[in-house]
């Protein structure tokens, strides 16, 4: 075990000494996640997507503040005028909003269009604005039943009513099909899986082939290290490299792209680490069966792109014909994405990903055994 850890740690150090590693580990995947996430941003999962709206609040009284909170509760990112460019629509609350409403008079809230904004987001905002206004009217009506006059309603009363559970609630879901992962919820796991596979295949394959060419593998084998320890050490090093990439992109996804990893973060991390083990084992296997480093890059890029396409890294399998879903069962990328979408987009718990994880473990074990079988100096 000591040899496995030592070889793995040294390999990680070697990988991170290559400047090109940073480009492929971080820069290129980040660019692809951003571009694909932005391009594929749509209504997506209604439980998760939050459209951005700019608020021009001219009212200084409490009812406008309560209204803003209601907009947030209905699933909108409420932005101040300084972030005007990021918003799809604007809402202007007039200065006499609170006073007019409390006098029982109608107040006009303006809904303003932004040029070049996404139509899908605008539609979501419109729907949620209507829902917010209905909810506000409901809360005010309920508050009015407890007082003699509208004018005696205060912020505390209104917030207490908002905080209490609704007597009637409607939970809407897509009927007959699952929602389709979109935006960063799709591009983060898709690209992370593709680049994990590509990097670990290339680094693994090229390292084994080059160390075989320059005699390092031979030299390792004349030491009191077993072949098993050597293979596992190489796989462990690649796994560690994968973990570096996984942790970086989970943090980026959470902080920059607001991907809702929520309570499933440990399960997401575990799934990705198991996938890194599978990809690392495949990388060592490629190095064992490929004659030179020159061939490794070509084979690995091709293999990882094919597996990415078939596994659903480039487009959600949900929108394709059923045959694509069947094909995805034959590649590890298909299983890992199935598990990640369950955890990230569909809000499932760990129990929903036990089968994909078991299949990934089987893929990894097979690759591991084959790598040990074909390992040579």
């Amino acid at each position: 075990m000591r040899h496995v850890l030592h070889i793995g740690h040294t390999d990680l150090r070697l990988f991170l000494k290559r400047k090109s590693a940073y480009l492929w580990l971080f820069v290129v995947p980040f660019a692809f996640i951003y571009l694909m996430g932005t391009a594929m941003q749509g209504p997506g999962d209604p439980d998760n997507h939050r459209a951005s709206v700019m608020i021009d609040n001219q009212d200084t009284n409490f009812l406008s503040r309560v209204f803003l909170d209601e907009l947030g509760a209905q699933g909108m990112w409420v932005l101040s005028p300084t972030n005007k460019e990021a918003a799809a629509r604007s809402i202007r609350i007039p200065s006499n909003f609170t006073s007019k409403v409390l006098r029982g008079k109608q107040s006009k809230v303006s809904f303003l269009k932004h040029e070049d904004s996404a139509e899908a987001d605008a539609a979501i905002i419109e729907v949620r604005l209507v829902r917010s206004l209905i909810a506000m009217n409901g809360h005010i009506l309920e508050a009015a039943t407890h007082t003699d006059s509208l004018e005696t309603i205060n912020e505390d009363t209104l917030r207490k009513i908002m905080a209490s559970p609704d007597p009637v609630a409607l939970k809407a879901k897509f009927a007959g099909r699952k929602p389709v992962p979109s935006g960063f919820n799709f591009s983060l796991p898709g690209n992370l899986v593709m680049y994990l596979m590509m990097n670990l295949l290339i680094f693994g394959g090229a390292t084994i082939a080059s160390e075989r060419r320059n005699g390092v593998i031979k030299r390792l084998m004349v030491h009191p290290v077993t072949k098993f320890e050597l293979v596992q050490g190489k796989i462990y090093g690649l796994m560690l490299l994968g973990v570096v990439q996984i942790l970086f992109f989970l943090a980026v996804g959470k902080i920059l792209f607001h991907v809702n990893l929520g309570a499933n973060l440990p399960a997401v991390t575990l799934t990705l680490i198991i996938f890194a083990w599978v990809a690392g084992s495949l990388g060592v296997l490629v190095g064992c069966v490929t004659a030179s480093e020159d061939r490794v890059a070509g084979i690995c890029v091709l293999a990882s792109l094919i597996m990415a396409a078939l596994g659903g890294c480039w487009w959600p399998l949900e929108i394709g014909p059923p045959v694509l879903k069947t094909i995805a069962l034959w590649v590890p990328t298909g299983w890992v994405l199935q598990a990640l979408h369950q955890l990230i987009s569909f809000g499932s718990g760990f129990s929903a990903v036990i089968l994909p994880i078991a299949v990934l473990l089987a893929f990894g074990a097979a690759a591991n055994l084959l790598a040990a079988r074909f390992f040579r100096h």
Binding site: H3, H6, G215, V216, K218, H223, P224
Partner: protein, 310 residues
Amino acid sequence: MSLLKTDHLSKTFGAIHAVDSVSFQIEAGEIYGLLGPNGAGKTTTISMICGLLKPDAGEVIVAGGPFWSDPQKAKSIMGIVPQELAIYEELTGRENLEFWGRVAGLKSGEAKTRTTELLEALSLTDRAKDAVKNYSGGMKRRINLGCALLHRPKLLLLDEPTVGIDPQARLNILEFIRGLRASGTAILYTTHYLEEAEKLCDRIGIIDHGRLLAEGTLSQLQERLGGDRVFVLEADFGNASVEAWDGFLQRFRVIQKAEGQLVVAAIGVRDPAECLRELLNLPIRVENVTLKRPSLNDVFLQLTGRSLRE
């Protein structure tokens, strides 16, 4: 007790007998040189000794025990310096030494201490923090050697450790190896450089086409030529044949006959002046006769009919 003994070691690749019944042994504090041209079977022999290849026949005995009865134990007392620069060029000299020390079984602290000692011994302390890829050829060779010494092996296998470096760097490495011998390490040294074998090795085995043709100390090998001197005759031989010269082959052993040159050694103890007179009186037009001490190349010539330098 010998630290290494090979007993009729053989290895065949298809129709090629890479190593054919090779036997020798090495004692503690001895440098045994395995001398032969490229492709003679030196590296295959070393590969079998360190377990990279399994012999088709014969046995390797390390410190009294058969290698294959406990390979890990046998490997733990060996250090191997491969012909290639089998080191991590991106790591520093210190990182390389520590890595190979840990792989050889040292704990972290031991590996660090030993690394410092070896960097000093190999005169690399000043460059310890530089990546090996920025080293000169000689420095890389020294690190390559040092990587095999972290765990103080009792048996050291050196496979052409001075290939491709300048004479000064070579001298430094040979001096370092002499120091290892003095500390009691048994060393197997393969080379195709005659001078290295002559100057460094206590005993030399001459190998060609997988067969160990002769072994012994330098003087024992020279004795095979019949004495401590050979004669190089330069002449116009025309159609002359040594077999036709009356009694010549009873008095001289022909080491090599090439166009315009004949290398011979006297048989038995004879006066060199008398030998010279006899050679000058041969029925050919002699241009020059040189008397010299026989070299390993002459021994190799006599054994194989060709020069090691060819």
